[in-house]
């Protein structure tokens, strides 16, 4: 089965610019996650979707970050405007349903560098 697809793999932007990341989860997976992984740290959840509804966005900096999941399938994460501290790897993950019984599958991430 195809895995979680993310694009682009790398992105370099200047501060105050905008950027968008795309994720295509595994077919049939209802739950989709966006994690932020800053260098030297573990991934931190930014937002979780169940189908096309938001389940948890408590750690999403809503003044600059936004995310949507169209028709409960693909998702985009946008940063506008970007700050230096947004430099990180952005990981998308999906699971059949919430949490454990369905394993969580991760994409290869997008490495964002803000200069």
């Amino acid at each position: 089965e195809a895995g979680v697809a993310q694009s682009p793999r790398y992105k370099i932007i200047e501060k105050r610019q905008s950027v968008a990341f795309w994720c295509n989860p595994i077919s049939g997976h209802a739950t989709l996650y966006w994690y932020q992984q800053i260098l030297g740290q573990g991934p931190k959840l930014l937002i979780q979707f169940q189908n096309n509804g938001v389940v948890d966005d408590s750690q999403l900096p809503k003044d600059r970050f936004s995310a949507e999941r169209l028709k409960g399938v693909d998702s985009t994460l946008k940063i506008q405007p970007a700050k230096l501290e947004d430099s990180a790897v952005y990981l998308c993950a999906s699971s059949l349903d919430r949490g454990v019984l369905g394993q969580t599958f991760f994409g290869q991430g997008t490495r964002l560098t803000v200069v």
């Binding site: 030297g40 740290q41 979780q48 949490g99 994409g107 991430g109």
Partner: protein, 114 residues
């Protein structure tokens, strides 16, 4: 709030030897799950092993096993017969039974030498 602590930023092991990575966690939940994920340079997180808190028996997956000490809130990963392909970042993660988001530790970088 749940926290996961990995106190070993880096570990090194010789090929074919055994290494143990440490993880402690803090939670007030009684129903939860623990995981070890491997992150190679490709950045893709790969599930290595998982443990249900209600199970007393330690999980095992081929060369990977855990030592789950519930009272001590400790969850270590043992890698036996280490291989060059085991070199990666290893993250310990926690999942409350009522939630679905993973809480990760800061990771341990494992080097495997000849």
């Amino acid at each position: 709030a749940q926290t996961v602590t990995q106190s070993q930023p880096e570990m090194s092991v010789q090929e074919a030897e055994t290494v143990t990575l440490s993880c402690t966690y803090d939670t007030s939940e009684s129903d939860y799950y623990l995981f070890w994920y491997k992150q190679p340079p490709s950045r893709q997180m790969i599930l290595v092993i998982r443990q249900e808190a209600y199970k007393q028996q330690n999980a095992t997956e081929n060369r990977f096993s855990v030592n789950f000490q519930k009272a001590a809130k400790s969850f270590s990963l043992k890698i036996s017969d280490s291989q060059l392909g085991d070199a990666a970042m290893y993250f310990c993660a926690y999942l409350a039974g009522t939630a679905s988001k993973l809480t990760f530790g800061t990771g341990t970088r494992l080097q495997v030498t000849l």
